[in-house]
Symmetry: C2
Subunit: 177 residues, 2 copies
Amino acid sequence: MSLPHAILTALLEKPSSGLELTRRFDRSIGYFWSATHQQIYRELGKLEQAGHIRALPAPTPARGQKKEYEVLPAGRAELTEWVARSEDPKPLRSALLLRMRAAAVVGAPGMREELRRHLDLHRRQLEEYRAIEVRDFPPARRESEPDRLRHLVLRGGIDLERFWVEWLTQALGELER
Amino acid sequence: MSLPHAILTALLEKPSSGLELTRRFDRSIGYFWSATHQQIYRELGKLEQAGHIRALPAPTPARGQKKEYEVLPAGRAELTEWVARSEDPKPLRSALLLRMRAAAVVGAPGMREELRRHLDLHRRQLEEYRAIEVRDFPPARRESEPDRLRHLVLRGGIDLERFWVEWLTQALGELER
DNA sequence: CCCGCTTGTGCAACTAGTTGCAGAACACTC
DNA sequence: GAGTGTTCTGCAACTAGTTGCACAAGCGGG
């Protein structure tokens, strides 16, 4: 039940159309809660139905016409309530770790290349996050609570990527023995 | 498409019945690929259908009767092929990071307690992993390739939990300002 | 001997997420 | 002004995972 709240958050930060949201998910929110445009359109429909958001009046409402949404007070209330809600972390699901475990049973040839590829991807992601940190969170921008929290989330992303880079490096070393 | 391969791996390590598999998923494989017993039974059916595993002949086959499965050569071949297959890491999905981002927008009261709870859960998990490491991977058991790979997977789990413990500690510090 | 508890298997219905495709509006250009 | 590409919205069908429940077999106690 996180997608609607991801959308509410994004819309509070800035009212947007479905496609704009999709793009913002690809860059920002999607770093820790990704979604395809179809998920987003469907969810926008449900949120509107539920009275949590509304479409800004468009000059000529029609199919294929851009529709901007904004959050209604009920939506903000729902989000506020959700933020304080308690929810267990769900168990990790990593196909790569699983693969490694399988490799321990049937042998690992062919995994090296895959590990290198992942290492490269995670290095790139790490660089991207670091660039965002430099751009969006210079020391001056770390004062207000909202900025500090957003920065905290980004630090989480950075440290996670760092974890993967380290683990993959270690794994490659192990396989090269 | 990882669940069938998780099951094949588990069955190669030791032929088991559905319920046994479920328990082993709760302890071991499930640490990085969890599954409920229904998922497992359904998948066992499909794997048997596909000729990847077979049920060991039981004295009196009947409903509610324990059924042991073992992997057939075709299943092992499928798993071997899968290990070398290339697959992009899927983007992270963390409700907690999302919540933090939402908190930056609507305010964070009530998050402290939730963070403390998660911190506690991750600390416990970390301790559990460390206990497993001490028990199953003493230095002597780090020689054979299979053991080294299994150990590597466990190290991954440990470092991930360590990441969460660190991030949550940092986050709590930030909120306490 | 039958009652309740545990073990073990499984169906059905649901929720969340993915993939493939299509159609309307607009802009551009030849 | 017909043809082509882009932007934007959306339906339909599918896959994976979750939840709730049912039912059979075996075991132990009153």
